[in-house]
């Protein structure tokens, strides 16, 4: 018997923004990234940390926004989301 298994994996494309000290660390202010469907903010952080170990150290102090609203780490990302990593703000 022939068994053909087809694994279909949805991907989601997002835009990721980095500011201030985080931009300096990552080396860019903006990236397009592709994640697995259902990925959360935590998954995105893991992905970035896998590329750059020092991102792991900075991550706990960062706020994250999705489409310009602050979110928690368990927020699920959607196709086309604009995600931003926001170091402790110091405007004013």
């Amino acid at each position: 018997m022939l068994v053909v298994s087809i694994y279909v994996e949805w991907k989601l494309n997002i835009k990721v923004l980095f500011f201030a000290s985080c931009r300096d660390l990552v080396g860019t202010g903006e990236r397009e990234m592709t994640l697995t469907d259902g990925a959360t903010v935590t998954d995105l952080i893991s992905e970035l940390a896998s590329e750059q170990a020092r991102f792991t150290d900075m991550a706990p102090s960062l706020m994250v926004s999705v489409n310009r609203a602050y979110v928690e780490r368990d927020a699920e990302l959607q196709e086309g989301d604009e995600v931003a990593f926001i170091p402790p703000v110091s405007g004013g």
Binding site: S61, Y70, P88, V89, G91
Partner: protein
């Protein structure tokens, strides 16, 4: 016609930039707060500052502060400007002006608005010191617990 203003801008902010925008005939008070580039931080000489902002979100969060202020106090119009880029000593980095029929509301609301701006609005300051050092300044992360 008095109107709210929430804007990130590159060019110079004048101290009276918001006054006429927020003032209506029914107002008896306008309180204005100007944040200015100081020549030192705890005694270390400042050469200049660089402000960076997540512009679209910053303007959105400033509007949220204005809405919050209007919920809490009987104020009429709220204006918030924040500058980005390189700023010299004595230049205005942030300007908040709030109009109200009676003085207490605009005074309290203006104090609240600048405190809130420093907690929630995605803007960052880099200090460049006269001794050649420079660093992005980071606020208190705990301030963001209540967003």
């Amino acid at each position: 016609m008095a109107a709210d203003v929430y804007k990130i801008q590159d060019n110079e902010i004048k101290p009276d930039a918001l006054y006429n925008a927020v003032l209506a005939d029914s107002n008896g008070a306008v309180t204005t707060f100007a944040g200015v580039v100081r020549d030192n931080t705890k005694g270390r000489g400042t050469s200049y500052l660089v402000y960076d902002a997540y512009r679209e979100m910053a303007e959105k969060k400033m509007r949220e502060i204005g809405d919050e202020v209007k919920d809490k106090w009987e104020v009429d119009c709220v204006g918030i400007l924040h500058r980005v880029g390189r700023l010299k000593i004595g230049e205005i980095s942030v300007l908040i002006a709030i109009s109200s029929p009676h003085r207490k509301a605009s005074l309290e609301a203006c104090h609240y608005a600048i405190d809130r701006l420093k907690q929630t609005v995605p803007i960052w300051k880099k200090e460049v010191w006269t001794d050649g050092g420079e660093a992005w300044i980071e606020g208190d992360p705990s301030a963001l617990v209540s967003r």
